[in-house]
Amino acid sequence: MDPRNPLLLLFLAIPALISLSFATSPSADDLVAELETLRAQSPSGVIHLDDRAVSRFLTSTPVPRPYSLIIFFDASQLRSKPDLHLTQLRSEFALVSSSFTDHHASSPAASLRVFFCDIEFQESQASFSLFGVTALPHVRYVGPHHHSPRDSESMDQSGFSRLAESMAEFVEAKTKLPVGPIVRPPPISPRQIAFLAVALLISAPFLIKRILEGDTMLHDRRFWMALAVFVYFFSVAGTMHNIIRKMPMFLQDRNDPDRLIFFYQGSGMQLGAEGFAVGFLYTIVGLIVAFATHVLVRLRNTTAQRGVMLVVMLVAFWAVKKVIHLDNWKTGYSVHAFWPTSWR
């Protein structure tokens, strides 16, 4: 999906092109032709811009330009921040671009003079300041009549939560051109579906036979036991919370970037690793009790029983104590009994 790799070659090509045509100021048609070539070379039709390309296609061309640009501002150093969703938004942007190109493939060239571009922060810091972009994610529309990049219109921040759909709306509103249906690649390709269907068809008779004979994994109680305990672990670990809220596994300490924070204080929120740790503690105690009552009693050797029991008791005691301690620390409450006043 990432169009950057084939574009590496392109970076080399652009300066060459620019230097070739520097002698004479390029005509509008030349620029359009150049942009079209660049677009054709990128798989999703998103053109990668750098500072020189920005000056060539935007700042040094006379207004009105015969084309308009929709620019996605990207920063590779911020891609690791999960709350910005830059990677996802970038691929959604590519989707809008390819949908737009597909929709207008057969229409006259004039409607195709909308070009989707992206700029990377580290290599084009000058362009970022030229546009006055300080926060990401950011999408800009530069129309034919915008004199300076600062005049261009930016997309509403709230729109990013709706991904490609709202970007398409933004493009349609600014360019007055329909984007067309957004074609998302299906999660599994048709070939894979066909393969799965064939595999299922072939295995169906065997499966049915085994079900009728009562000889499948479904008939193994250990499978169900593991599944039930896992579902329980999954829930008490608060995993649904982590999925719905998209919580990270751990945080970086702001004061000391080398330190990682695994436990978050405050009961309304939890981190991923924290949930799994406590879920594990919750589950382990029950498993120990079950182990002692169902497995250990069958052991013949009394000394071994004694030894294992000792270890197991210590572990269980530690786990319960740890959870109580963590809970008191996290919520700030500490449970106490109510004694008669005369006892104090």
Partner: protein, 775 residues
Amino acid sequence: MMAIAEAKGASALRNAFGGILGVFILLLIGIFAFSIRLFSVIKYESVIHEFDPYFNYRVTQYLTNNGIYDFWNWFDDRTWYPLGRAIGGTVYPGLTLTAGSMWWLLNSLNIPLSVETVCVFTAPIFSANAAWATYLLTKEVKGTGAGLTAAALLAMVPSYISRSVAGSYDNEAVAIFALILTFYFYVKTLNSGSLFYATLNALSYFYMVCSWGGYTFIINLIPMHVLLCIVTGRYSSRLYIAYAPLVVLGTLLASLVPVVGFNTVMTSEHFSSFLVFVIIHMVALVYYIKGILSPKMFKVAMTLAVTIGLTVCCAVIAIFIASVASSPTKGWSGRSLSLLDPTYASKYIPIIASVSEHQPPTWPLYFVDINVLAFLVPAGIIACFSPLSDASSFMILYLAISAYFSGVMVRLMLVLAPAACVMSGIALSEAFDVFTRSIKFQAGDINSESSIAQNDVSNVDSNATTDKSETVSKEPSRKNHEKEKEQEIVKKVTSKSQNGKKLLVLPQEVSAVVILLLIALGGFYVGHCVWTTATAYSAPAIVLKSYTPDGLRVFDDFREAYAWLQHNTDVDDKVASWWDYGYQITAMANRTVIVDNNTWNNTHIATVGAAVSSPEKAAWEIFNSLDVKYVLVVFGGLVGYPSDDIDKFIWMVRIAGGVFPHIREQDYLRDGRYHIDAHATPTMLNCLMYKLSYYRFVETEAEGFDKVRRTEIGNKKFELTHFEEAFTTEHWMVRIYKLKLPKNRIQGKLKNKSSSETYSSNQTRARNTRRNPWQ
């Protein structure tokens, strides 16, 4: 012979003694379950709590005053003005009818209790019932000991207490009892194969449908269990008897409840039960044919049946898909959808996502709500697998499903709690069983040991021989489950003492330590439950208390405001507030409200949201078009009451924005954050909610410092143009404003000519450009 007879007599005596002890323990559990819920009455007063209970209380009052027929036909014009609400057809009547008939019974016995008292104590009474139902259910699964333990655990499980303290007069209070009872009857039918219990099962299901929308949990869980049994090859006639009558009778009875009605056959929540109903009939037919045909013939018939079955299945599925696909939400209600796809609600339905009890819980919540049960449940799961019966597989399924759902919504922790109690009860009782046995059979003195063992062995032998055929065949049809359980244990004991002369035991001293540890764990549980009940779950939310260095402070502002409304406004005046306070205003002030906690009409709620997020003039127009005379806002900035309207305001904007596109959340946020201080956006500072909350706030001792948000407010000095302050309670927690009357048309024009008073000029302009906000 004599010895055996003697032993029999002794064991009968012991059983009788055990029975009486069991009844006594159950009685104590009931009393405990009732009394632990009285903290709220002792610490505060005998008062109805929170929001929804006030509505239920009002309905119960209507029922007792006007009778059952008027109740069914009741159209309430005091709420959702101007739409109104047909109460009889939109309310789950179980709770109201229960409390109403309790009141009626007490009155006919010449015990003159007020309706309010009955309502306050309904929940504790039904908690005791729920504890007993838990005993029955667990007894069916794993025997008496586990039953008693589970009942004791349920009596004080904090999750359930949070919904059933005295005064918490809500559907869940009786619904959890109905839920457990339905499961008990289902398991009982499964164990006994008796049609009598199958009928009772359908009836208790009917009671559950009457009581709570959560009945869909039952009607999906039981089919799932049936399907599981069929798939794992556990089909039996008992399964058929347990399931088929429930679907037929249960669905017929459920459709008698007006609020459910034809939903029982129209919505997707119920389809799984019908699908399984078809499947179980097909399976029953297959088993029947298998019984009457020779194996060879059966194979031929099987192929035929599978072919026909598949075609029928395809047809049914096609119809199903066609009917489901025609509805926009695919036939599922928003709440159910957010269970299947947990991220659904936060994306599409702000009104569901906004409710705090619909949030996914974090791990400390499990520790608060089921406490040490969280540790014991896995042991219970494993105990249920050894040996696996129909009943124990049902409990495992119940636990797994409810555990998953509780992970999606905090609210469903309530459904998990009984399952966790049953599982922990089983685990604890098994653990105690093993460890006490270890101590008992290794007690130092060999003589006493042998005599005890002898006693048990002989006792067992007699039983084992008589019922051997039954136990050996392992046919799970258990007419007398209890006896068999006993036999199983005893049989284990005999076989061991005969074969290896060694019981399934652990070293004695270690067992003693473990028992002490388990008792300590139980003690911690009791301590935790009492502490949580006393401190966290007993607050009625209508009266607030806080402990300051100066001593106890009581905030009774809500009732002060409602009393003011009742005494100082006209009986037909309309009061606008955010929906949280709708039920309380109608119940306590007896005034008409625009929206209330029954959030059935999102557009209407969004209209109120749009009004409070608009500037004063636009808000006045919206409110005026709804005939509103008074606007009530809740403000906690002076005393630090955190869940006030400013706190909820972002949801009002969000909900309004979902219907009215000109309200944009973006306008109220600066840098993606929500401010009321100097960084606040102009839209925020000019919206009605800000103005009504902070009007004259600078004149108080706080001088414009909001204690909840811990910041100085952005705009301190401003005047109201279209509203006037009518009443503010002692601690400023409730503020009531009156809409100013529109100025007389001619007078306004003249005034406008002569003077340039802001208000009248505004008003005139408003009239010139006045338009219906609904258009």
